[in-house]
Amino acid sequence: MKLGSISRSDLAALLFSGKFRVRIGPFCIRLQSDNVDVTDLIRQLYCDYQLEAPAGISDYHLRLSRPRMLRRFYRPQIRFVTDGYSPFAPFPVDHAFPLFEWGLNWCVATYSHQFLMLHSAVVEKNGRALLLPAWPGSGKSTLCAALVHRGWRLLSDEFGLLRPGSNALIPFPRCIPLKNESIEVMRDFAPEAISGPVFTKTRKGSVAHLKAPAESVRRSTEPAVPRFVVFPRYMPGKQADLKPLPKARAFMKLAGNAFNYELLSESGFQTVASLIHSCSSFLFHYGDLDRAVQVMDSLVE
């Protein structure tokens, strides 16, 4: 059953009771929360995802809870808890949704070692997947958001997931968190895109979550074949410039920004090697989003 097909009150009841379980790509997430903003934003931004039956094995057990004592009333806060452990300091209560998103990222990056996890956006078109590995601030999410609003399928904005020994990218489509200037840029670029409210003064500045396209969510059990690795970098005023990158250099850059390459040891090495062998790699500097999309389109046409 799709999450969007149940009423708001039923969703709130599931969340409140801790019986809310949702399938997001390869993961089943259980979430408990009594926060009304979280309820509303999950309803808005996760409406295309499949609800799972209340009983069953979940990959992650998440809870958003209000601290006891004074912080319930004075500048109220909210805590992210997973398996009884709270990895972050509490957030202001009105940042509950970004906390959920970051908390889920933290769980996946910290525990999902059944996958090689590349820190990369992944999109696909015409059966060819494109990895956009990059560090924060490089324009990865903005470019990813632009591509998925120009016909590319979203596999993930944050995680390039591969099972060790496999060369298939596993979809994990979720909201794309746009930050600061990117929020306005995407509003102009894709006015039809659905996004949540702008959360100001977060640890990463202003953040707004762009909904994953319904078609990408629907196809979230379909792996994709990697064909291109493009290291993007947004440079204001710069002409689009796509330069081939030698495979060995691409290997080191890709491994260097993976979440768990060292931990997976030789199987991580073999998996990155297989990926690099099957892809053409590039450095990409861009200053204009329309032109950047054209260049990426030209790779797969």
Partner: protein
């Protein structure tokens, strides 16, 4: 007279290679480290895999002395490379 240092690959079975064009990446099972190596390093390690070699022997085998004008410079670079490979834990000096 002081004998020249002879070098040998520490544990050839622990090294996993991927040759990617002009460069290679090497995974060392013992340290868990990955190294990006130019072709000359690959050739050096291949030569030192089965037998210990000193700088003189390596330069000879690598034919870096094909042009007399570059002879010293090339051998200095190989010498530096040998020390780097040793610092990375890929080679060891042997005494016999």
């Amino acid at each position: 007279m002081k004998q020249p240092i002879r070098w040998k690959v520490v544990a050839p079975d622990a090294l996993v290679w991927e040759h990617l064009g002009d460069e290679s990446v090497l995974f060392d099972r013992r340290s868990g480290q990955t190294h990006l190596l130019p072709q000359i390093s690959v050739e050096c390690l291949a030569l030192m895999q089965d037998q210990a070699m000193d700088l003189e022997q390596l330069c000879e085998r690598l034919e870096v002395r094909s042009h007399p004008a570059f002879e010293n410079e090339a051998c200095e670079q190989i010498d530096q490379l040998l020390r780097t490979l040793n610092d990375l834990g890929l080679t060891v000096a042997v005494s016999e």
